[in-house]
Symmetry: C2
Subunit: 382 residues, 2 copies
């Protein structure tokens, strides 16, 4: 049985925009698919962000062309022409109209694309279309250490997604790209509404270093080839399962990361804001890298979030290696065995659980922060 | 001539709250001084923060007792009693009322103070009061590499300040303490107004890692012993000079820092917010550590600040080693010699200058971000 959903073909090729691996990818639907996208909120944006947002405005897409090794950002009007040209070349290779093709780029900022190479790459990727996702997955990676994909099958339909990030994009920033396909039949309006909610609950709850790329993009395509029209809740559950899996994979593969850290906050007027502040705190992240059960830093970060709570009622626990340790409760440190907790924290998956009373729970997905981050980000030179 | 302003005595002693150096400091005014303070905004606060805020509410202070090596934070009601007891012990040593004594603490979170040691330390510091600031300066340091003081003399008055931070407080967070003395005669209301403005323009424009301590405190004392009643603008100028000097010293001595980085943004609706976002970006800070003229990261950080601007009109320059290099202008990278700029960035003082059009200028003071930060914050164990 095919890995990818019915109605899709993927292809990848290497044209020399980066040193190793493929750097041009094509994602093609047999017919016009329903499509939706969420994009970076950065004021400084690559040409492809505005281009693809316009292409997808009618909720219909046929294909995606993506390159890695060059973000085509801060490249002026020539950059805009090159993005449009990528769509034309992909449309020629596939046999569709350029205005049905989304474009994504990731890589170095401020350099013009070598369009002769891009042209060869798109033609080669168009010749190599098939059901194996690997050449496409390769083509979107930069310094990611591992490929990232996730799959869910439910009620006669398949959801399959691939992602890249937050490996460092030489020489600039972490970019997240995610492309999710399903063979469910979904009307564009419904798909857009569900996609915004799913992205909000998954990709938008991911932080590696708080920096936001110029090129971030998460697209969904629904081919309808399964012939199954799912209930909205089933569609949302399947997309959430795939996107949450990709989110965890991206956090775990963060720059220099040794572990996935999930920050779970319950209660207070804004648990999400508290969770995000804890997850972005360099002091918390270095403590996780050092396997240090440093509850003071976690409470400090919660306290500086701007959300009021009563520290007397806070209960702070760490879960790792199948153990659950309470570090702080009732306004005072709990009697815990620091050495044992530190050993548990050597796990590659740690949950920081802060309970501030009754109420909603919010989770942020992040990673620890160690020497590797500095090495990747300081030793590379533009 | 004495270094410290007229009407003040300083003392320091070592009582064993930390391994080396003094850990108890006394600052004493001959009579009741005008006083004002600004405090951490963290929801999780040490007992001394609320205590000193109450003591200073009437704008009058006689003395300060400070300890390092223990933040006395998250220590419950016993911690509150210990803070009040520190004020009593200092009042006994000096011969004043406890409600005229401010209390500050810095160090480890979640441990009760060893009050037998504190009692001996306060008595010893009271015996050692004099005009030499060094024993007091020693007593407020934690992992700071250097002592920090600044002095201004103007119109017959002296302003003198000492500070600590942002060395790491084992095992918790960067705490900033600043104590500024002047022999000008200033009414409490005027002093409070000026102090809030001065702190806002200096200490509140400082960031090392974006984390905010539970114990931050900046106090000012005016003894009046010079007999000079300054114009408000002269007082503000002298206090600003001293506090800006201390701010730069703290940034330069940030954890693992190799250089002072000043981020100067001009134009847009909120240049301060853009400057703060750039200054807190781990990607910008690691680039500064690596001496990498990585303009893409700086523009990315500005773009994710949430403040709208037109990247086409942005002009980005770096100043270091007496050179001024424009990296980005008119929507595109400027033709700069990357190797030469990288050599200039080896300086211990770099200015990032981003102009977004006409308008106000805002400056944030920070440092770079390298292996030393990870070492200090990950390798220490609670």
């Amino acid at each position: 049985m095919a890995v990818i959903p019915k109605g899709f073909l993927l292809g990848g090729a290497r044209c020399g925009l980066k040193n190793r691996r493929n750097d041009i990818g094509l994602l093609v639907c047999d017919g016009l698919a329903s499509g939706s996208g969420v994009f970076t909120t950065n004021t400084v944006r690559a040409a492809c962000v505005d281009y693809t947002r316009a292409v997808i405005a009618d909720g219909r897409l046929r294909a995606l062309v993506v390159n890695s090794g060059n973000a085509n950002c801060c490249t002026g009007e020539q950059g805009e022409r090159d993005t449009a040209r990528m769509a034309e070349l992909a449309a020629d290779a596939i046999g569709c109209r350029p205005e049905e093709v989304a474009v994504a780029s990731t890589g170095i900022i401020g350099h013009l694309l070598d369009m002769a190479r891009v042209e060869r790459g798109i033609a080669a990727a168009g010749q190599a279309l098939g059901g194996d996702p690997k050449p496409f997955m390769d083509a979107i990676l930069t310094t990611d250490l591992v490929e990232k994909s996730a799959r869910a099958e439910t009620g006669g339909g398949v959801v399959y997604g691939v992602a890249k990030g937050s490996g460092m994009i030489a020489p600039n920033m972490a970019t997240m790209l995610a492309f999710v396909m399903t063979d469910f039949a979904v009307d564009p309006d419904l798909l857009g509404n569900v996609w915004r909610r799913v992205s909000g609950a998954t990709f938008n709850r991911l932080t590696v270093d708080g920096d936001t790329s110029t090129n971030d993009m998460a697209l969904v395509f629904a081919s309808g080839a399964s012939g199954v029209r799912p209930a909205e809740s089933d569609l949302e559950a399947a997309l959430t399962e795939v996107c949450l899996d990709l989110t965890r994979q991206i956090a775990r593969d963060g720059e220099g990361a040794t572990k996935l850290v999930e920050v779970v906050v319950t209660g207070s007027a804004d648990p999400l804001r508290i969770a995000r502040t804890i997850a972005e705190s360099p002091l918390v992240k270095t403590a996780m890298f050092g396997c240090d059960p440093n509850w003071g830093r976690i409470l400090m970060a919660a306290g500086r979030s701007g959300v009021l709570f009563d520290p007397q009622t806070a209960i702070l626990s760490l879960r790792a290696s199948g153990e659950d340790h309470t570090l702080f409760e009732g306004g005072s440190p709990a009697g815990f065995d620091a050495k044992r907790v530190s050993t548990a924290l050597k796990s590659d998956h740690v949950v920081i659980d802060l309970r501030l009373g009754e109420g909603e729970t919010a989770t942020i997905y992040t990673c620890d922060f160690g020497y590797g981050y500095v090495r990747i980000n300081a030793e590379y030179h533009t």
